[in-house]
């Protein structure tokens, strides 16, 4: 347990999900207490609560933790409780903790690092870094608001106008975007900066302004991370921040580069330029901080500016953070289960290979480098292809149209020459009626197309007249019988058609 950590690796809903998959779940008593998950809820979900931590380690085959195993009081280490052949899944930071890795290797167990789940779209549901960063970004804004002396939103009150706070977010990754959204939600005027051009659209879609440096260098590195920028770019970046600092009330910085100390972006002179009462929340504090003056783990005031260097912000929303972390864990576990719900550590699985650190003590991390794809660029290439196909199909129809028209003209001419006059009279009526019909029916509301069909059925029952004429003339004969049947059948149409149309139209209401 790390000091101040309030999250728990599994919450009751996740316990239920595991029980459904056939697992027995053991929970250290009081593990969820600080996250507002009392033991009672765990018991109700089907877990067995154990008072002694060591019992959990010894009885369980698979151990879920939030943070990596740490040293305990009295020189002991949590890792010592990890039995041979067991599996441990937690945040690990293998790149920064070589001693821990050695210790764990000696345990001959399987170890997975939640912070090493590959950042591919398929694995998003297992990506604890993203789910925690989302929370951190939100919380950063809450902390800022808590230390700020005014509203975030502008207001017009009887006692005067308040202007909205100006918030600048540095780094528009998961945490940065969450911060943008939270600040916008509170009503602030938000701008964001990132070295990657690809995020501009995302920032703007949240209603914030994307700050740009007048420099032609793309910050898009592999795997969607930023890369280290050239000196010229950094100078231009600093100039931008210097320009913004006097106008900004709140700065939230989230800039991290994998495996390296956090870049220093807000220098001491910029803090001095900020208005008294401003707040800087430095989410990179644990990695050294993006702000020169940040004191990790503390909130200090320098040059009348509050500098928040708190670490582990997700732990301050333990209820949600635990729920999301547990979800990530269960999803990762699902990845490792085969059809019979048995654990199968398939090293061909990109996700498993990416986050496995030890297999029975053998070091497998880091995995062989696969070129991680960056977020796909928009595909303009496909559109012209689609267009070409569409145009191809459009062009040929011009020829049949021409043939059709010529045929019609020829037919009309032939009619004019050969047809008897009364036929032509009827034909005139016919054509005119077609034109009228065309125009009238195009105006019918699509919602009424079914009543249209039933009404047209009803009026085509007018063929009843033809039957009538057959019946009414002469004696009982074949023609008369045929006519009678036609009358019966056509009457069904007339009655049925109008009545069912009426029934349907009655149902439409506003």
């Amino acid at each position: 347990m790390i000091e101040g950590e309030r999250r728990v690796a599994l919450e009751p809903e996740a316990v239920k999900a595991l029980v459904e998959r056939g697992f027995e779940v053991l929970v250290e008593a009081g593990a969820g207490a600080e996250a507002s998950y009392p033991d009672k809820q765990y018991a109700e979900a089907g877990a067995e609560l154990l008072a002694a931590r060591k019992d959990v380690w010894s009885r369980a085959d698979l151990i879920f933790k939030v943070n990596a195993p740490t040293e305990l009081e009295g020189g002991e280490h949590e890792a010592d409780d990890l039995g041979e052949g067991k599996t441990l899944i937690s945040f690990l930071w293998p790149g920064q903790n070589p001693e821990l890795l050695e210790r764990l290797a000696a345990r001959k167990a399987n170890v997975f690092a939640m912070d090493k789940v590959p950042r591919i779209s398929r694995a998003q549901k297992m990506d604890a870094l993203s789910s925690m960063a989302n929370i951190a970004g939100y919380r950063a804004v809450i902390e800022a608001a808590g230390h700020f002396g005014s509203f975030f939103s502008g207001q017009i009150t009887a006692a005067g106008r308040t202007r909205p706070a100006h918030v600048m977010i540095i780094g528009a990754g998961v945490a940065g975007l969450a911060a943008v959204a939270a600040a916008r939600g509170l009503g602030a005027v938000v701008s964001a900066f990132d070295t990657r051009a690809a995020v501009k659209e995302q920032v703007e879609s949240l209603g914030a302004k994307f700050l740009e440096v007048e420099f032609e260098e793309s910050g898009d590195g592999a795997g969607g991370y930023a890369k280290v920028m050239s000196k010229e770019f950094i100078d231009a970046e600093m100039a931008l921040f210097r320009e913004q600092a006097p106008k900004t009330d709140i700065i939230v910085t989230t800039a991290l580069i994998p495996g390296r100390p956090a870049p220093k972006l807000i220098l001491a002179d910029m803090v001095e330029m900020m208005r008294p009462g401003s707040v800087v929340v430095d989410l990179a504090a644990e990695q050294g901080g993006n702000c020169e003056l940040t004191v990790p783990h503390e909130v200090v005031v320098k040059h009348d500016v509050t500098l928040v260097g708190l670490a582990n912000l997700p732990s301050r929303l333990p209820t949600l953070a635990s729920k999301l972390y547990a979800r990530n864990l269960v999803n990762l576990l699902d990845e490792m289960l085969d059809e019979d719900d048995n654990l199968n550590l398939d090293l061909d699985n990109e996700v498993i290979r990416g986050c496995i650190v030890h297999k029975e003590g053998e070091l497998l991390w880091p995995p062989p480098k696969i070129e991680n794809p960056s977020p796909p660029q928009p595909k303009p290439a496909k559109a012209p292809e689609v267009k070409a196909v569409a145009e191809e199909t459009a062009a040929p129809s011009a020829v049949p149209n021409f043939i059709f028209v010529s045929l019609v003209v020829a037919a009309l001419v032939a009619l004019g020459i050969y047809a008897p006059t009364d036929f032509l009279q009827h034909f005139t009526v016919f054509l005119l009626a077609c034109v009228v019909g065309w125009h009238v029916v195009w105006n019918v509301a699509p919602a009424l197309h079914t009543p249209l069909m039933s009404v047209t059925n009803a009026i085509s029952g007018i063929i009843l007249i033809g039957g009538m004429l057959l019946v009414g003339v002469g004696q009982l004969s074949l023609a008369m019988i045929l006519g009678l049947v036609a009358v019966v059948v056509a009457s069904i149409n007339v009655a049925g058609g109008f009545l069912v149309t009426h029934r349907m139209l009655k149902m439409f209401r506003r």
Partner: protein, 478 residues
């Protein structure tokens, strides 16, 4: 003089029919429209009946009519009464989900009537047999016959009495072509025959038209019934018009033209909405695309679907500010439109905006979904057509797809190898969350996989739609 009254009456009736169709341009004027049509029909029948009872109707020239035609009148009245009663019973009993079947059956009656009137007028004692007249008779019977049997098959397919898979006989195009040629060819001896001796040819041609009609529709799959029924609607109109030519009756001609154009327009709209050419449809077959084996796009969707529960669905709906429901025929089959409306009402009371999005070919008949929703008391101003609502989907919080598949398939937009490529669809995936209600992962009627189900923001709620929605409603209420 009676002739002039007849003409004026027919003219009035024709205008009333036109006004009737015009009334259908909006829900407010529609009921009046139906009334106009009814009045027009009564007028025409009354006046014709009167003229028949009186002597010497000009509709059939040169025939002496018996003076006391009370036998004829009595039979007529009886026949009309019988037909009216049957029609009334059918119309009051039919379930809205079975409207397509009713419409198909009514089409078949028009076809049958056209055939009977055609043959009857030919065998009538003293009938006038000039070539133009005979050609009109021929056409009327041909189109009527195709309409008759075609509609019966359509009815059977819609009602599930025949399987919805298309019947693809080897050489079917040749078969159809042969039948058409035969029908046209037999006209020659028919026209040349003296008096009524051409009856045999007429009857043979009638038989051919019956087979042709049935065969044409048998070769069409169940999913394309909306187009077929619209087309048969059109044919029934042309059959009536042909009968009108044959009887030199302008009212029949006008009505037939109105109905014919109406059906043609509906067919055109349906074809556009399915991205098929209307020529393809008219010539019966749907081309090589419609095969026995379900066609597969080159990119079968990969990945896993995210399953969800009724409780999670209720949660999502509770928090949503804007919701769009996309119903498909599956919703009607599951009879889920009533609980869906209950859910809609509840959510609207909570202040959410709920709307329905109707794709032109949703359902088994044009405008079918609208009628089903109206039956469930859904106010029509929240039921929108695809073109009206597609643009709003990106801003929608939750889209629920109920019993629909191909009409929300993104493959239609970006997968050139998909059989449904080019078909306009409802872009459900652009909203924030999509919830798909489906019985299982089986393919829809086009037999194509649907990438929508595998998208990140899509959740699948498996189970019977009615059952699921009922559970969602109780979850919302708790």
């Amino acid at each position: 003089m009676s002739d002039s009254i007849l003409t004026v009456a027919y003219l009035t009736a024709a205008i009333l029919f036109i006004l009737s169709l015009r009334g259908l341009s909006s829900q407010e004027t529609a009921k009046n429209g139906n009334l106009f049509g009814t009045i027009g029909m009564f007028l025409a029948l009354l006046v014709t009946g009167g003229a028949v009872v009186a002597t010497g109707l000009k509709g059939v020239e040169g025939v002496e009519t018996a003076n006391s035609d009370f036998l004829g009148f009595g039979l007529l009245a009886g026949a009309i009464a019988v037909g009216a009663v049957i029609g009334a019973i059918l119309s009051s009993r039919v379930a809205m989900t079975s409207m397509p079947q009713l419409v198909a059956v009514l089409h078949s009656f028009v076809g049958l009537a056209a055939v009977l009137v055609g043959i009857g007028s030919y065998v009538q004692v003293g009938a006038h047999h000039d070539p133009a007249h005979l050609v009109e008779t021929w056409i009327g019977v041909l189109v009527g016959g195709i309409t008759f049997t075609g509609s019966i098959i359509a009815f059977a397919k819609l009602d599930g009495k025949i399987g919805s898979k298309p019947l693809i006989l080897p050489g079917r195009h040749a078969l159809n072509g042969l039948m058409v040629l035969g029908a046209i060819g037999l006209a020659v001896p028919f026209i040349q025959a003296e008096g009524s001796t051409g009856l045999l040819f007429l009857l043979i041609m009638t038989g051919i038209s019956f087979v042709l009609g049935a065969h044409l529709v048998m070769a069409i799959g169940g999913a394309d019934m909306p187009v077929v029924v619209s087309l048969l609607n059109s044919y029934s109109g042309w059959a009536a018009a042909a009968a009108g030519f044959m009887l030199s009756n302008d009212l029949l001609i006008v009505t037939g033209a109105l109905v014919g154009s109406s059906g043609a327009i509906l067919s055109y709209i349906m074809c556009n909405a399915m991205n098929r050419s209307i020529w393809n449809v008219i010539f019966g077959g749907f081309g090589a695309d419609e095969g026995a084996a379900p066609a597969k796009g080159a990119n079968e969707p990969q990945g896993t679907v995210t399953k969800t529960t009724v409780e999670e669905t209720a949660e999502l709906l509770k928090d949503a500010k804007s919701i769009v429901i996309i119903p498909g025929y599956g919703m009607a089959v599951a009879q889920a439109q009533h609980p869906v409306y209950e859910m809609t009402e509840f959510l609207r009371k909570q202040g959410a905006e709920v709307r329905y999005a109707i794709h032109p070919v949703a359902g088994r008949l044009p405008g079918h979904m609208n009628v089903l929703l109206a039956e469930a008391n859904v106010p029509y101003d929240i039921v929108l057509e695809m073109d009206e609502i597609n643009g709003d989907l990106p801003e929608t919080d939750v889209v629920m797809v109920i019993g629909a598949n191909d009409i929300v398939n993104p493959g239609a937009l970006d997968d050139a190898s998909s059989p449904i490529y080019g078909m306009p669809v409802l872009e459900a995936w652009k909203s924030k969350v999509v919830i798909v209600l489906k019985r299982s992962m089986s393919a829809g009627y086009a037999g194509v996989g649907n990438p929508l189900f595998f998208k990140d923001n899509t959740q699948m709620l498996f189970g019977d739609a009615k059952d699921s929605i009922n559970k969602v409603v109780s979850s919302l209420r708790s």
